[in-house]
Point group: C2
Chain length 188, copies 2
């Protein structure tokens, strides 16, 4: 049960967006530009969703890891296997060497920003990562350290039904984040 | 030295805002509404800046802890002593019992959102905190877990000169966050 009185039937962060619209707007704008808009990064939306999924998985945030895992799957053309592999260990997943190097940076950021070393950054550069891609990786990982804490710090509802996450993932991947909240009619 | 090529003479997050304006906009909007606007919270701007300062201090983010500490000081009418006391231990600082209870929640969020317990929330309520104030506390602490990681994960420049932070603090406290970046003409 959530720590505060939230609208019923809306899981995770959507219930918080309805509770406090004044912060929902910039948070939604952030995730739209950071993860979804094709023109704002040379990392694909699928790669960016994988970084968000991996960070959320490290933070053990069920709602965010499952939701963004489902979005990543749809952004990657339905490849559920790579999403599950990244959650377990990006270094042995079937992703590019550049993305593996960026995932190492994301894992450091998840622990503490100060842990990102010059060697981590040089390693990413040697795999072809640009300054902008290193920047985007750090900000995505940092942003999900916020979103995960916001969702779990207020004990929002995380459904158990995998079909709910899949439906949210399909909608977000195609429509982005400025869509209407996803209402679950019969809370599982 | 920053991990990526950032504009020189602009400390901390401001150099990142100039590097990537597309994410600067929602991040600045977030901090403006979350910390500065008087109408968006029943916590005062000073109390909200203290929560941001304390979280940044727990994350050992020099730039954010010192900057928001200076903003808090100006929002609290120049009370530097209470800011320093909160950084060391909010429970023995001269702040209200309600704010002490909210600081306990912020400290849990800084570690992991899942650590916030029903007892923590009931304790805050017993000291007069509303659902909205509990929400705002969780989001401020969560947001600074992002800002701290963004600033330190890219190794941005944190000046050593206390006068720089004081000048930034004075400006932000009076003008808010939608002001021009603070350029330090001779990097210390």
């Amino acid at each position: 049960m959530p720590h505060i009185a939230l609208p019923e039937g809306f899981p995770g962060i959507r219930s918080l967006f309805m509770f406090n619209p004044v912060t929902a707007q910039p948070l939604n704008d952030l995730v739209q530009t950071l993860l979804h808009d094709p023109s704002t990064s040379t990392l694909t939306p699928g790669e960016r969703e994988l970084i968000a999924t991996y960070t959320s998985s490290l933070n053990q945030c069920k709602y965010c890891a499952t939701t963004h895992g489902a979005i990543a799957k749809y952004q990657l053309g339905g490849d559920a296997a790579v999403v599950e592999a990244v959650k377990i260990d990006p270094q042995s997943a079937e992703i590019s060497d550049k993305l593996k190097a960026l995932m190492k940076i994301a894992a450091k950021v998840q622990q503490d920003g100060r842990k990102v070393s010059t060697a981590d950054v040089e390693n990413a550069r040697s795999q072809g990562a640009t300054d902008k891609e290193i920047h985007d990786t750090v900000l995505i990982a940092a942003a999900f350290c916020m979103f995960n804490r916001y969702v779990d710090g207020l004990a929002t509802w995380a459904p158990d039904d995998a079909a709910v996450y899949d439906a949210i993932g399909k909608q977000r991947a195609s429509e982005g984040y400025h869509t209407k909240p996803f209402k679950v009619t019969s809370p599982a």
